[in-house]
Symmetry: C2
Amino acid sequence: MANPLLRAKRLIVGRPLATERLETERLTKTTALAVLSSDAISSVAYATDEVLYVLAPLGAAALSYVFPISAVIVGLLVLVALSYRQTIFAYPGGGGSFTVAYENLGVLPGLTAAAALLTDYILTVSVSISSGVAAITSAYPSLASKAVPLCAAAIIVLMFVNLRGVRESGAAFSVPTYAFIAAMLALIGTGIAQLAIGDTHLSVIPMHPTQVPATAGGISTGFAFTFLMLRAFSGGCVAMTGTEAISNGVGAFKAPASRNAAMTLTWMATILGVFFLGNSFLAQHLHVQPSTTQTVLSQLGHSVFGTGFMYYALQYSTFAVLVLAANTSFADFPRLGSILANQRYLPRQLSARGDRLAFSNGIVALALVAMLLVWIFHGDTTSLIPLYAIGVFVCFTLSQAGMVRRWMRTKAEGWRWKAALNGVGATATGAVAIIQVWTKFTHGAWIVVVIIPAFIVLLRAIKKHYVRFASEIQLDGTTEMIPLRHHVIVPVSGVHKAVANALIYATAISDDVKAVYVEVEPEKTKTLQQEWEAWDTGVDLMVLTSPYRSLIRPLVEYVSALENTGPGELVTVVVPEIVPKHWWEHLLHNKTALYIRTAFLFRPRIVVTSVPFHLGAAHRLRDLLDHDEQIEEERLRAESGPKAPPQTPEAA
Amino acid sequence: MANPLLRAKRLIVGRPLATERLETERLTKTTALAVLSSDAISSVAYATDEVLYVLAPLGAAALSYVFPISAVIVGLLVLVALSYRQTIFAYPGGGGSFTVAYENLGVLPGLTAAAALLTDYILTVSVSISSGVAAITSAYPSLASKAVPLCAAAIIVLMFVNLRGVRESGAAFSVPTYAFIAAMLALIGTGIAQLAIGDTHLSVIPMHPTQVPATAGGISTGFAFTFLMLRAFSGGCVAMTGTEAISNGVGAFKAPASRNAAMTLTWMATILGVFFLGNSFLAQHLHVQPSTTQTVLSQLGHSVFGTGFMYYALQYSTFAVLVLAANTSFADFPRLGSILANQRYLPRQLSARGDRLAFSNGIVALALVAMLLVWIFHGDTTSLIPLYAIGVFVCFTLSQAGMVRRWMRTKAEGWRWKAALNGVGATATGAVAIIQVWTKFTHGAWIVVVIIPAFIVLLRAIKKHYVRFASEIQLDGTTEMIPLRHHVIVPVSGVHKAVANALIYATAISDDVKAVYVEVEPEKTKTLQQEWEAWDTGVDLMVLTSPYRSLIRPLVEYVSALENTGPGELVTVVVPEIVPKHWWEHLLHNKTALYIRTAFLFRPRIVVTSVPFHLGAAHRLRDLLDHDEQIEEERLRAESGPKAPPQTPEAA
């Protein structure tokens, strides 16, 4: 293992792990809440901001609409949570949107869910990390200009951690989530208490957020107003992202899995609802401003806690829970990628676990695309949100519609009520998806409308290739390879050891061997022919002229002519290949072997073999010989003269 | 020739030319003067600028020193020209600095000359093109910000023209040189006439050159003054670059070659001397300013010709002659590269002529490095000059010192006088080289001091590698390859046509064939084993476990164990390789064949062969069959069933 790249890889990602170490730890409700809810709960870190941003044109009046809109969203959350409880009981092994849609609605809805999920997983990383970094830059405004590199660094760290393989070992992972829950409870509790006794810091804390300009102060009724409200609602719906995580992960719960998962889902929805409403309530009463430099949470933190320890605890725990949320995608994206790859909808490279039992290719792909998005959108959470929320709601809709179809098929006890509940859920989330596309179309939603169908087309094209490939390589009793005669051609450049090795090999695999010399400089041919005669290997030397000085073309023509003499002609080109010891030595040798291989790559019934001659290897071999053997060898060499022919197979 | 890249290449550089078309046209004195002197004569386009720049700190007094300094340089030019006349008669086949130094002074001086020449050729391109573009931007100041892209474009055009192969067909090439000579004669003649009759446009022409600030107006005596004069002299010496071109190219002259070459050299030196002195004289009397936006020639042109036709004729012919000067390097650099490559001091790829009989690799390398320099130095001629002139003077010195040594050895008639002349030339140019390094050390000369020794180290390292390589591959009666037993291993991934092809090939080259399956997912092994049994090829299937899911490692261990069982064991790994039809399909298949080849690359006595299976080829083959054959084939297939075994060699 002298390879320095390999050594570096081992240091960073660790040594390979055996397959048998692949077993899943079962989660208790408390750890499951921490691990599986981080994505959902952490979305309160940016959801209220989205509502406020949209309402900015209303000026001071905006704040009065934040709470009502949030209340509607929480109502929708309750509906979706109830709907997903049913999925949890129906799919005790885990019911992700792809599985439910694919099984119940068919291939195209399944692929739509898959495409939506893949974009979602990518955006979970981009949005969570951007928002997490925003929590930090809100606390330290001087870091604001470094947002994109900070995001990239966070994603790279996550990538390496996941390449090492993260065991979802509850304890450590619970810390950020529960710290964030504690900080949020403290914020909301203290805030409401302060409001109740009228002791707010409003005038004390110097807050200079860069306000979003109020472009249209007079909007209050009519179409424009409705549109604005719908857009604010669309933005706020991002609070619901991550809700499906628990129903995906039912299989990871301790028995009784479904019951425990359902209870955890209830808890999660409750916490999320309380935090979102609490945030919106405080934002309204503490007169928070929509700002591009301070998150709503940071403004609330300043307002309630001042600039003390509690404020920083809030910001750091927000950052931590958002990183944890991004981390869930690093488990989910490659897992879905591997499921799709096993069904041949994605390249098969994504189906295999790497050295450390993680799906390495998927992890790297996710990190790269997420970083690309952060870079394109300058690490700005708000501009990423429209892309994010739509995919989530498409998944909600397909998943619940799948459940409706399932109830209608299975007709289990009480199926009418259950189908009705899932149906209402599907309709509501479907409507929200449409509202999102409509109200945010020019704000980035069009990208999703392009990307999801493009993804579906790609998945289907890949599948089609593999299906065709499988049929093409299937045995059908025919073959193009009937080696009645096996010609072996050895292109030679001179009389030397590399050619000797190739000739020995060639005569070992066939009795019909010819050496071929391509004449580029005619004045050298005579000498070579004389040397060849003197060498006397028993192999004939053909000289091919090359008026255009190409080494390859005359060879290709000669070999093609051989192969075309009749059916059953098989040609092997045995190329003597010099293998230098150091990388830079490669620059000093023509890559003739590579060119020859490439030239024949698309020719059936022609096989190219390179017989390597290793520079520096002879010395090493000699060092390994005993001293006695060395002396003996010297003696033999002295006897046979400096330019004796090598042992041809006839001699051996 | 369906390859679109190849088609594009043909369109740009033309079809290949046969070697027999390589013959040199002999040049008359008039064409030789045009072709071989462009480099030298064109240097008047920037030499006066260099003197003026350095003298800028003297303010208005600067101009009075320009002419004396130029006169000293012209004196030096006469000395060097006389010295080179002797080289021309001594080396009627062409006596470049490398040849003269290598033959007479030995390897190290020869390599020093080679290194200095290679840097010079590169800098001739960078400097000439930068200066040519400066002639254009002086006429059209709005183009000044586009200087670097303009230079790059000019170099790329030159590169493609030279890749097509430029026959040095005098007529066309004479135009720029004689046009420039005519324009310069007109400029100097008119200028002096105007001065004589006192009719100068000085006050009429609006000239707003950006002046180089006069930093130290008070310098007039002592060390600082001497240093400044020497530096100005160093800068002006760039006028002498290109003087050696004629002695390099003696072989291209019509008989009597040496006589004609010597006469041409005299003409060239005269023209160059007159132009340089004329320029400096006019610059002094027309009060030209050192400027970063207008060349001296452009200022003189404006002053003498105003803004009319003659001014533009001067600028365009300056540009043209400088492009022609750069073009000479595109012939000389690859030619020297090829000489060095043939002597194994440079990679052998540089020794071969390309499709169009030009040394393509050298041409591309030169263009790339020249563009890199232009880009690094922002297309600024002045900052490139120190790098340029030093190398030229090192070559002058070594070449003339070599001649001294030659006279002392041959003792030809009058050798004492000749040796004395060459000796004076060598001493003078050597002194100038030292002055240049000293006075311009911090202005870029240090780069040359680093680059030339680095180049020499590189040339020697390359030579050393080739010498060791030649001794290693020399036949000495020993070989590591004694194929007493030839094992063939076929790694298989399933039962399909690609594996069938590989098995057919394997059994054709040895009787000892084993199929090997690396078990990554144990649950699939059973099925494969059953399919294999059912297939009944007569080849045994080995299953290798892979606890770490690597496909390669178990295979490497298995093959190594085989090869280590004793001396004379030869192993061939026959890899079934899927060759997709479209490039994007490569992304959908693991590159297992490539990984296997790489894994065994450094193992002697192990040969890796891939047997390609071409996706899409079966269909094409079928289309080619006659209708009758197709029907027959269908019938046979129907009889043998859909999953019949392929024809193994036993059956064939």
